[in-house]
C-alpha cells in the first residue's frame, strides 16, 4: 500500500507550508514536496499605485528582510526615473554607502535572528529535544549569558537600522536617486562606541565570532552527522562585483557549478533572457530555472551557502571574515559545498562579515556628507526599472513598469525563497530518504519530523514573505494510504 506523510504546518519558518512525503509499498520514498498554500498578491495590488510608493508598500511583504525589499524597490525606482544603473548612472557616494550600511545592518539582524533563535537551540539541545526546549526561550534557562549577548546583538542591529533607515521597521530613507538623510556624527559615534544599554561595535564583532564558534564546536563534535545531512546538488548564485566576489548591493548575477565554473553571468536587468519560472498547481510558489539548462539542471541555490560557494574572498579590510571564509572553502577542497547544514556555518560567517563591513562603512566620512540625491533631468523618465540585491536569504529581484502618469502597471518579484524552491524540495527528499526509506516500520518520531523541518529551516525560508505568528504552532503529521485513508496521525 503506498502512503504519504504530511507535516503541516512546518514551524519556525516565515509563513505557512506543509510537507508531504510519498512512500510506496516497500516503504521507499517516491517523492517529497513542500506545499505552499498561501497567496499574497503583492504584485497585483501594487498596480495602480504611484511608482514611488512601491518600495514603501512592498517592504511590508516581510517583517524580517524589509530593508532588502525597500532597497531592491529603490534601485528599481532609480532606473524608472532615469538615474539608475540601467542608464549607466553611478549613484553618489553618500547615498550608496548609506544604502549599503542599512543593508549590512539588516543582514546582521536577520541572520542573528535565524541563527540564534532557531538554529543554535537545535545545535545545543539536539533535534530530538522537545520543541518547548528547542528554541531561544529554552536557551534562556540553559545559557542566560549567551541569550544576553543575542539580545544585545539584536538590539544593536535594531538601533543601527533605525539610525540609517529612520525606523526600526519598514524604514523610509531611500528615495528615487538617493536617500533622504545621511548619518550624523553623533549617531555614528553611538553605534561605534555604544552607550549604557547599547553594546559597542567591537562587542558586535566579538559576539559574531562567538556565534561562529558555536557552529564550529558543534561541527567538531558531530562532524559525520552534520556533513551527511541532506547533501544535495545545485548550482549556486549570487550578485558579484568586478572581481567576481559577492556584492550584496549591486553587481552582475553569477551562477557557478560544483567545480565553481561559471555557468552564466549577466546584468540582472536582462534576467528575463536567462530565467524562466515553472508553476505547479499544488503550490503558489514558483520554480525559477535557467532557460539554458532546463528546470531540474537549471535550478539554483541562493543565500548564505550559495554566496559562499560563488565568492572567492571578501574585502581585504575584513580579515576575520576572510579567514573564516578560507577555512570554509578549504573544507571542501575548493569545490562548491552542497551540505545543507553548512548553510548555518555560512550564515555565521556572514554575520561576522556584515559586522566587519559595518565597521568599515561607519569609519567612512562620506556618510556625513550632504549630497544625497541625483535629480533626474526633465526628459529622463524611463518608466521601467529592475532592482536586485542579495537579501539575507538570497538573491531578490523587483521589476516594475509604470505609465506616463507614474502609476504602476506591472510588478514582478522573485524572492530568494522562490529561487531555493527546487533545492528545498531536494533537501526534503534527501532527509526523508535517510529517515524513512526502506525501513520496515516507517515510524513518525519527533526527531524525524524535526529533521525534515531542520532541512527546510537551513534555508531560513520566507514562505509568504509576511508577518504572522508561527513557531509553537500545532504540528500535525498524518499518514494516509493511497486512497486517503488515515493510517496514523501525531500531533505536537
Amino acid at each position: 500500500m503506498s502512503r504519504k506523510l504530511v507535516i503541516d504546518p512546518v514551524s519556525k519558518i516565515e509563513g505557512h507550508g506543509k510537507v508531504i512525503v510519498y512512500m510506496d509499498d516497500d516503504n521507499q520514498v517516491t517523492d517529497a514536496k513542500l506545499y505552499v498554500a498561501e497567496f499574497r498578491g503583492f504584485e497585483k495590488f501594487v498596480q495602480g499605485h504611484p511608482y514611488w510608493e512601491a518600495p514603501m508598500l512592498l517592504q511590508r511583504i516581510c517583517g524580517i528582510c524589509f530593508v532588502s525589499h525597500h532597497l531592491c524597490g529603490a534601485k528599481a525606482l532609480d532606473d524608472m526615473v532615469g538615474v539608475g544603473y540601467s542608464t549607466g548612472v553611478q549613484m553618489l557616494p553618500t547615498p550608496e554607502k548609506m544604502r549599503r550600511l542599512g543593508h549590512y545592518m539588516q543582514q546582521l539582524q536577520s541572520h542573528v535572528t535565524a541563527y540564534f533563535y532557531c538554529i543554535v537551540p537545535e545545535m545545543l539541545f539536539g533535534m530530538d529535544a522537545p520543541p518547548q526546549q528547542r528554541n531561544v526561550v529554552g536557551l534562556v534557562e540553559a545559557d542566560p549569558e549567551l541569550v544576553k549577548r543575542v539580545v544585545a546583538l539584536r538590539k544593536w542591529g535594531q538601533e543601527g537600522i533605525k539610525a540609517v533607515l529612520g525606523k526600526r521597521m519598514h524604514g523610509i530613507n531611500s528615495v528615487p536617486g538617493g536617500v533622504s538623510q545621511n548619518l550624523d556624527q553623533a549617531a555614528r559615534d553611538r553605534l561605534i562606541n555604544g552607550e549604557e544599554g547599547l553594546i559597542s561595535l567591537d562587542d558586535v564583532i566579538e559576539y559574531a565570532q562567538d556565534g561562529l564558534k558555536v557552529f564550529k564546536d558543534f561541527h567538531a563534535k558531530n562532524r559525520a552527522e552534520v556533513d551527511a545531512f541532506a547533501e544535495v546538488p545545485a548550482l549556486n548564485m549570487s550578485l558579484v562585483n568586478d572581481e567576481g566576489n559577492v556584492d550584496y548591493y549591486h553587481g552582475d548575477i553569477r551562477i557557478v557549478d560544483k567545480d565553481k565554473n561559471i555557468v552564466e553571468q549577466f546584468d540582472y536587468h536582462d534576467y528575463l533572457d536567462y530565467f524562466s519560472e515553472a508553476t505547479e498547481e499544488w503550490s503558489y510558489m514558483k520554480f525559477p530555472f535557467l532557460k539554458s539548462l532546463g528546470r531540474e539542471a537549471g535550478s539554483v541555490r541562493v543565500g548564505a551557502l550559495g554566496r559562499l560557494n560563488v565568492t572567492k574572498s571578501y574585502e581585504h579590510n575584513c580579515p576575520l571574515a576572510n579567514a573564516a571564509l578560507e577555512e570554509f572553502h578549504d573544507y571542501t577542497g575548493g569545490k562548491a559545498n552542497d551540505m545543507t547544514l553548512h548553510t548555518n556555518w555560512a550564515r555565521a560567517i556572514e554575520i561576522l562579515h556584515s559586522a566587519e563591513q559595518i565597521k568599515v562603512l561607519l569609519s567612512d566620512p562620506d556618510l556625513q556628507k550632504d549630497q544625497l540625491v541625483i535629480t533626474p533631468a526633465d526628459n529622463a523618465w524611463i518608466g521601467e526599472g529592475v532592482g536586485v540585491v542579495e537579501a539575507p536569504r538570497g538573491t531578490l529581484l523587483h521589476h516594475y513598469r509604470a505609465d506616463k502618469a507614474g502609476n504602476i502597471t506591472f510588478a514582478n518579484l522573485i524572492v530568494a525563497t522562490t529561487q531555493n524552491n527546487t533545492v528545498m524540495n531536494r533537501t526534503i527528499r534527501s532527509v526523508a530518504d535517510a529517515y524513512l526509506g526502506g525501513k520496515e516500520q516507517a515510524e513518525i518520531t519527533e526527531g524525524m519530523m524535526n529533521a525534515i523541518e531542520v532541512g527546510i529551516r537551513a534555508y531560513d525560508p520566507c514562505l509568504s514573505c509576511a508577518t504572522h505568528a508561527m513557531g509553537q504552532m500545532p504540528l500535525v503529521i498524518t499518514l494516509l494510504d493511497a486512497d486517503g485513508k488515515l493510517i496514523e496521525e501525531k500531533i505536537r
Binding site: 514551524s11 519556525k12 516565515e14 517583517g63 524580517i64 535572528t113 533563535y117 532557531c118 518547548q132 526546549q133 528554541n135 531561544v136 526561550v137 529554552g138 534562556v140 534557562e141 542566560p144 549569558e145 541569550v147 544576553k148 543575542v150 539580545v151 544585545a152 539584536r154 538590539k155 535594531q158 521597521m169 544599554g197 508577518t467 504572522h468 505568528a469 508561527m470 513557531g471 509553537q472 504552532m473
Partner: protein, 111 residues
C-alpha cells in the same frame, strides 16, 4: 515605546524600568471595556519568531538581567480589525474610558 510585536529584546528594555505598563487591544468577550491586571513572571515557552508572552519576557528579564520590574497589562476591548476600518465607536469609547481611568487612578493604586 510603540511596538509592532513583542520581542525577546523587550526583556532588556524593561530591565531598565521599575514599573512597566503593557497596553494591547483584546477581543476577549469577558472584557467589558478594559481590564488592568498585574503580571507574573513565568517561562511559558510561548516563544515564536513573531510572538512571545509578557510573562516569558519577564522571566527572561529575571534570568538574564537578574531583576524584573513591576508589570501591569492594560487590555482594551476592540470589536473589528478590518483593513481601513479604523477603531469602531465602541472601541474608541473603551479607549477613552481606559485612558481616563489610568490618568485618574494609576497613581492612587500604586501602579
Amino acid at each position: 515605546m510603540r511596538h509592532y510585536q513583542l520581542h525577546l529584546e523587550d526583556a532588556d528594555l524593561i530591565s531598565y524600568k521599575s514599573k512597566v505598563l503593557f497596553v494591547d487591544a483584546t477581543k476577549a468577550a469577558d472584557v467589558e471595556s478594559f481590564r488592568i491586571e498585574k503580571m507574573a513572571s513565568k517561562m511559558d515557552f510561548s516563544f515564536s519568531s513573531h510572538a512571545i508572552s509578557i510573562p516569558a519576557i519577564m522571566a527572561t528579564c529575571q534570568q538574564c538581567f537578574d531583576r524584573v520590574p513591576q508589570v501591569h497589562l492594560l487590555t482594551i476591548r476592540g470589536y473589528a480589525w478590518e483593513l481601513e476600518q479604523g477603531m469602531t465607536p465602541a472601541a474608541q469609547r473603551n479607549l477613552m474610558t481606559a485612558t481616563e481611568y489610568f490618568r485618574n487612578e494609576s497613581c492612587a493604586s500604586g501602579m
